[in-house]
């Protein structure tokens, strides 16, 4: 929970971005930055295309195509893969080779190389994206190292000298002016296209998936994000953008030096991304421009470029970790506040209203029960206890190394009711919850949901089969609003490919569903708040709202009451009892009084063994429970 002690950051920017995008519906989503780049780029190429300014612009546009892809993959989704320079090399060397040896035009060979890069990335990505976090970074760091060894060793690609090519990006022959300006324009158009694609993906429902994936892969999977597929798609997207950048580089520079693929090139691209602003596509493009122009700014700068880049990166990141685009955003927000004090007052007043209602007093349980729970679930069986068996855990064992955490645990739960799982610390409660939720695979045994064996199914599939869970520590997505946090559980994008979101986004539908869930819980007034500005109780409520938003059949709650006051616990207990009339709730809890008060059946784990299974009356009188949990 201590991650929430440090309060960030861009809550109001997110919500105001949403508001402004709704207000300006006439402009297509994500179209503004690419159009700016297209217009400004065309003007620069046509006016200065033959001068130094123009040629630097075209070169930086080649790199900007790569960094725009990196903003999606590395900045926004935090999948750090050091594969860009290698795929840049694949594009550049591929075009040089096809052009020189097979006399293909640059455009044709460029198309071939981009397709080839996509296929190679798919193959390579299906292996390397099995790794996460730093493991992914280190595994892909080998790629430029291997590539450098290969290129400098083989004479075919020109070795350390490099590979020249005679073809140009502009098809057909013409005057040198036409070739230079035409080639530059093609680069600008491609850059605008890549930016358009990237911004549309990021602003879509899948963009929200990617954001969650970047913050916390395990939570993303528990909320139904198909993490393996998304990671592979991101890797391929990054590689294709890099290859495209390499293609236009070769086509406009007519020479591919060995330095394009070495790790230094990778680092240079990362510097561009982080100076510009890692989460912003526009920022990534600006970063590429800044670095390229800096190098030619003056003789002193170009000689001492390492000092300048090092200082610049340090200062920019210290001022704002989101780079230049973060600084500009903060500046705009500041200007808005300065110019419109009335609006700021309104915002403050609204904030005060939120504070006043920052508790659960306004919960309207009846309306929630009427609307938010699925009709098919309500009609699934006769009312009362002991309906059809929903979940069966059959003799589950779990060992870590030689340590036995779960030993022959079996239990069965009906499709409604409130059940509790108790036990001392280290008894295996959370592990059992993880086995049911799918984030931990049992060593042996089976997990059956409605007669279907789901033991080997990944967490995101279980989510779609109706298992929803919360974690022991609050796992909300910092930097996003309450509405977006709940909307993550309402996304219908699990089978969709990332590419489809260049077309239509379904984020508004998910947000509408999330808004309904929040309204049902009496939390509508919190929708636009950034989650880390909430009290712990409200954060737990937001998590519960998120878990309920998908209309689950089985709700797994890991210590939902921890850290709450007695009064807050009672409110939560009342809510859970109401919920349990329509759905199956399995609760891990330390508060024995609360457990005995609300649950109809209690399981006690000790040292991985299920030592008690019975109703609250037996639970109170059981000697096993007393000696184990009460300690007398």
């Amino acid at each position: 929970m201590n991650q929430f002690l440090a309060a960030p950051s861009r809550a109001f920017q997110w919500s105001s971005a949403v508001a402004s995008s709704r207000a300006a519906r006439r402009v297509p989503r994500g179209a503004v930055p690419p159009v700016i780049v297209l217009v400004v780029g065309a003007i620069i190429v046509l006016n200065y295309g033959l001068l130094y300014t123009g040629s630097v612009f075209v070169l930086s546009a080649c790199y900007a195509i790569v960094t725009a892809g990196m903003a999606v993959q590395i900045g926004f989704s935090q999948q750090i893969a050091f594969s860009q320079s290698v795929f840049f090399g694949v594009g550049a060397y591929g075009v040089a080779m096809l052009n020189t040896h097979l006399h293909m035009s640059v455009l044709l060979s460029g198309v071939i190389m981009v397709v080839a890069a996509a296929l190679v990335a798919l193959l390579l990505g299906s292996v390397v994206t099995r790794a996460s976090g730093l493991a992914l970074a280190v595994a892909t760091l080998m790629l430029p190292l291997i590539a450098v060894g290969y290129v400098s060793g083989t004479g075919f690609l020109g070795g350390p000298v490099g590979a020249p090519l005679s073809g140009t990006l502009w098809p057909g022959s013409g005057s040198t002016t036409l070739v230079a300006l035409g080639g530059g324009l093609i680069v600008v158009v491609l850059l605008a296209a890549v930016m358009f694609m990237a911004s549309r993906i990021l602003s879509s429902d899948i963009g929200l998936e990617l954001f969650v994936l970047g913050v916390d892969e395990r939570t993303a999977a528990a909320l139904g994000v198909r993490t393996p597929r998304r990671k592979l798609e991101l890797f391929v997207l990054g590689c294709v953008c890099a290859a495209l950048g390499g293609v236009v580089y070769a086509g406009t520079q007519q020479f591919v030096p060995e330095t394009v693929i070495d790790p230094t090139a990778e680092l240079a691209l990362l510097i561009m991304l982080f100076i510009g602003g890692r989460r912003s596509v526009f920022g990534a493009v600006v970063g590429a421009l800044v670095i390229q122009y800096l190098q030619g700014a003056s003789n002193w700068v170009s000689v001492n470029i390492l000092i300048v880049e090092g200082l610049l990166l340090t200062v920019v990141l210290l001022v704002d970790p989101e780079g230049l685009s973060g600084i500009v955003q903060t500046g705009i927000a500041w200007l808005r506040r300065k110019s419109g004090p009335a609006a700021a007052d309104g915002e403050l007043a609204a904030g005060a209203a939120w504070e006043a209602r920052d508790d659960l007093a306004g919960l309207s349980l009846s309306s929630m029960l009427a609307d938010s729970l699925p009709a098919e679930n309500a009609a699934a069986g006769p009312a009362g206890l002991g309906g059809a068996t929903l979940l069966e855990v059959r003799s589950v064992f779990k060992e870590y190394g030689g340590l036995s955490v779960l030993h022959d645990v079996s239990l069965a739960l009906p499709d409604r009711g409130l059940f509790a799982l108790c036990g001392p610390n280290g008894a295996g409660k959370s592990t059992l919850l993880n086995v049911i939720g799918g984030s931990v695979a049992p060593s042996s045994g089976e997990v059956i949901l409605s007669g279907t064996d789901i033991t080997r199914r990944p967490p995101h599939e279980r989510f779609y089969q109706g298992i929803s869970r919360t974690f022991q520590a609050v796992h909300l997505i910092k930097g996003r609003t309450v509405l977006d946090n709940v909307a993550v559980a309402c996304l219908a994008s699990h089978t969709a490919s990332i590419v489809t979101r260049i077309g239509r986004s379904r984020l508004d539908a998910a947000r509408a569903k999330a808004a309904r869930t929040l309204a049902d819980l009496g939390m509508a007034h919190l929708a636009d708040r950034e989650v880390s500005s909430l009290t712990l109780e409200m954060q737990r409520m937001v998590e519960l709202a998120r878990a309920l938003a998908s209309s689950p059949r089985l709700l797994l709650l890991d210590e939902p009451a921890s850290g709450l006051s007695e009064e807050q616990r009672q409110r939560l207990a009342a809510l859970l009892v109401t919920l349990a009339e329509r759905t199956c709730v399995l609760l891990v809890e330390h508060d024995l009084a609360l457990v005995a008060q609300v649950s109809e059946r209690i399981f006690v784990l000790s040292g991985g063994h299920l030592v008690f299974d019975g109703g609250p009356a037996d639970f109170r009188s059981s000697p096993v429970v007393n000696s184990l949990l009460v300690g007398s």
């Binding site: 201590n2 991650q3 440090a6 309060a7 960030p8 950051s9 935090q78 750090i80 292996v127 390397v128 099995r130 790794a131 996460s132 976090g133 730093l134 493991a135 280190v138 595994a139 892909t140 760091l141 080998m142 790629l143 190292l145 291997i146 060894g149 290969y150 060793g153 790790p263 230094t264 680092l267 990362l270 510097i271 982080f274 890692r278 001492n304 470029i305 390492l306 000092i307 300048v308 880049e309 090092g310 200082l311 990166l313 340090t314 990141l317 210290l318 970790p321």
Partner: protein, 294 residues
């Protein structure tokens, strides 16, 4: 005796990797920052001593001490200015930005300054223990290599004693296990971040001085050294200095054997492919899972 000599060469290179890997992982434990500039301190050590001794004509001990003082002062200043602003402020910077990019920027900065001060040619600190290789039963022991090995053992041993047997070492362990918890029981984790940062910068500089006669350094050599240290630390799960040490030795020996038996030219390429495959095959066993979640 090719095998034996390859093993000796491998252990010498491996001990260099191991020392840098230990430096990276010990500091990562206390600061959550991967020091990608550790190799640049080594480069400054070697080229600084060379510059003061050979160009400026200072006596060797004076050159060595001056260089080490400058390195320590710079590291201290960097911690006081940049890291304090980044980590100790009201809004500490979290995640990959601080894990990678501050020391990455530092590395660029140091390289740039070194280029101005030392030029772009290959140089090395003077050999501290000159003479031909020692030979024993047809095994060759190059003196520079033995010196590197001796330094590695002394520094590694001192580290081990410090962590294992002193109160400071225990506090260091605690800050690594749980920084918030350590702060609650009264350990100043910032002080350890500074201590270890300056300490590892000094160790790196010393190693640069003893290692450079074997390989020779340019102002850009730091990146390669950091990289090998980073890789070996990675295979120790980033947080486990002991495993990082073993991983460093192992990578050094494997590199020498691949270079000797597989291909002198593509040995490194094969090595990197093996290392990549190892991570993908056993991420948990290599300690990556804990590094990621921790």
């Amino acid at each position: 005796m090719k095998f034996g000599n390859l093993i000796i060469a491998g252990i010498v290179t491996g001990s260099i990797y191991a020392v840098f890997a230990v430096c990276v992982s010990v500091w990562y434990r206390v600061s959550n920052i991967l020091n990608l500039a550790v190799g640049d301190f080594a480069m400054v050590g070697a080229l600084g001593v060379d510059n003061l001794y050979r160009v400026k004509g200072l006596p060797l001990p004076v050159a060595v001490i001056t260089t080490l003082v400058v390195v320590a002062a710079f590291a201290y200043l960097y911690d006081q200015v940049v890291l304090r602003l980044a980590q100790d402020g009201r809004r500490p910077i979290e995640g990959i930005v601080v894990t990678f990019f501050f020391t990455f920027a530092l590395s660029f900065f140091i390289d740039g300054v070194a280029k101005v001060l030392f030029g772009t040619d290959v140089h090395a600190a003077p050999t501290l223990w000159g003479g031909s290789s020692l030979t024993l039963a047809s095994l060759n022991f190059p003196r520079a290599g033995l010196l590197v090995l001796a330094c590695a053992i002394i520094i590694g041993g001192a580290f081990w004693v410090y962590i294992r047997f002193t109160l400071g070492g225990k506090a260091l362990e605690a800050s690594g296990e749980n920084a918030v918890g350590a702060r609650i029981v009264g350990i100043d984790t910032r002080q350890y971040r500074r201590l270890i940062f300056v300490g590892t910068a000094l160790i790196a500089a010393v190693f640069g001085i003893v290692e450079s006669p074997i390989t020779g350094f340019t102002y850009l050599s730091g990146a390669t050294i950091s990289l090998t240290g980073f890789l070996a630390a990675a295979y120790g799960g980033f947080r486990k200095p002991g495993r990082a040490l073993v991983a460093g030795l192992f990578i050094g020996v494997l590199e020498a054997l691949l270079g000797g038996y597989v291909s002198a030219q593509y040995g490194d390429t094969v090595l990197y492919a093996i290392l990549a495959a190892a991570i993908l095959a056993w991420p948990r066993a290599l300690g990556f899972e804990s590094a990621v979640s921790g």
